[in-house]
């Protein structure tokens, strides 16, 4: 078991909890945004549905298949975006990108991220950063496109 305890930062209790019990997985009725994102490198795939009122996300449903990191990350995302404005979502995605790259993230940003901070350990496993960002980048791009249209 010696080697595996080094993974504790990657697989924090919060991550395993979201992996085992993902939040906001119910399908959304007549969603405004409905997209599939996948990582062709590893085969992970997510179905993301959003209801958008003005520029605010009012309802979210995310389901998919993937590793613990990508699934937990998608669940944390689903929890965060509900009720948020698109500006808040963009800001959070920007924060998490920097968090995973090991760049500066302010205390204020960390407060907003909350449990999502548990993903910080992924940065020690660079090949897994894509797993953590998959759903975030997909949702952010789709939201930008939807509001720009």
């Amino acid at each position: 078991m010696s080697g595996l305890n080094d993974m504790n930062e990657l697989y924090e209790a919060i991550i395993l909890d979201h992996y085992r019990s993902p939040r906001n997985t119910a399908p959304v009725d007549s969603p405004d945004i409905d997209l599939e994102v996948n990582n062709p490198f590893c085969g992970d795939e997510f179905h993301i549905q959003l209801k958008v009122d003005g520029s605010a996300v009012t309802q979210v449903g995310i389901t998919g298949r993937g590793c613990a990191i990508s699934q937990a990350s998608a669940s944390l995302l689903a929890e965060l975006v509900e009720g948020k404005s698109s500006d808040d979502v963009h800001a959070a995605v920007d924060s998490i990108r920097r968090l995973l790259k090991g760049e500066e993230v302010s205390e204020e940003e960390r407060d907003i991220l909350g449990d999502i901070e548990a993903l910080e350990g992924v940065r020690k496993f660079p090949v897994r950063i894509k797993c953590a960002l998959l759903s975030w980048v997909g949702l952010d791009d789709a939201l930008t496109e939807h509001l720009g249209a």
Binding site: G3, L4, F41, C42, G43, D44, E45, G66, C67, A68
Partner: protein, 417 residues
Amino acid sequence: MSMTQAGIRAFDVDAIRADFPILSRKINGQELVYLDNAATSQKPKQVIQSLVDYYEQTNANVHRGVHTLSIEATDGYELARTKVTKFINAPRPEEVIWTRNTSESLNLVAATWADANINEGDNIVISAMEHHSNIVPWQQLAAKKNAELRYLAAGEDGLLDVSNVDSIIDSRTKLVAITHMSNVLGTINPVAMLADKVHAVGGVILVDAAQSVPHMAVDVQALDTDFLCFSAHKMLGPTGIGVLWGKYDLLEAMPPYMFGGDMILEVTYEDATWNDLPYKFEAGTPNIADAIATGAAVDYLADLGMDNVWAHEQELTAYAMEQILSMNSIRVLGPQDPALRGGVISFIHDTIHPHDLGTALDQQGIAIRTGHHCAMPLVRSFDVVAAARASFYIYNTKSEVDALINGISETERYFSR
């Protein structure tokens, strides 16, 4: 080291392991257990030394100079070709063409022979268990030519479904392109039977031997194949070099693939004529050092004897299959009978995703492959998006199989905390 002594040397895994410097590396503080051989093999010091020797003692361009180094480089380059020729029991060294890898060999045939011989309404037959590199070139060619791409299915038992082979291969079949051994399922395909079938309708067969030539005795004449493609890096050799073997008359009739130096016989300001085989397909300065190192890899394998290599891997595979199948949490893709498969075992854990398993095993020094293994349609047909894969080679041991099984159990304990 001579080829006539093939297999006489006892198969001594400890002695073999001592030839591989990388096997003494520690990974995350643990002994390296390298089980990703289907992706690429490790290299013995004999192969590494041949690269050093070439660059330190022989380096020069081939087929050009009258000076000593050029002559020695040319001799080394051509000697390596004859070693490969004997290794696959090809009739003539001119039939052995150096490429960059299996993918380039496949693309070469698609762009030359297939482009010249496949027309609208013809069909190309491949299987559902091909690597992407033996799917996409044919998809592209079929689209360009308005030809049909047909698939032989993979059964749930992991074996090629040949029940309908006589309707799939018909009078319009120009090419069967099939993997000799699946890089996902380990399945060994009935190449000689398919060769008979396609020859009977006047077509040709290409064998993707990337996973077979490194692990078993492959005899192109016994298989009666028309083209054979493989890479050196999966058989102890360097990356960046591969082989296309083809029957002489087919290669002779094919147009060139690339144009440039070495592949021409005569150039005027208006036109050019093509060099003889194999040089017609080797435009430009070739990968001389890696060709010579491939010769060293072939020497190493021939010295062990490919029947002994195969027997060693069969023993490991049987040992690993028995243990893995006894774990209730694991489903193995592909045939369960070790005699029907090579040393490639893809598996799915019922609760732990392959990538989480791969990271956890890496923490224990164990290297496996995770993902779709460049065979997305096949992996998806098992209703999963990814699988874990352990694959063996000459230097692997039963205690490394034990380490894998133990590593999976440790990972289960970790994730059930």
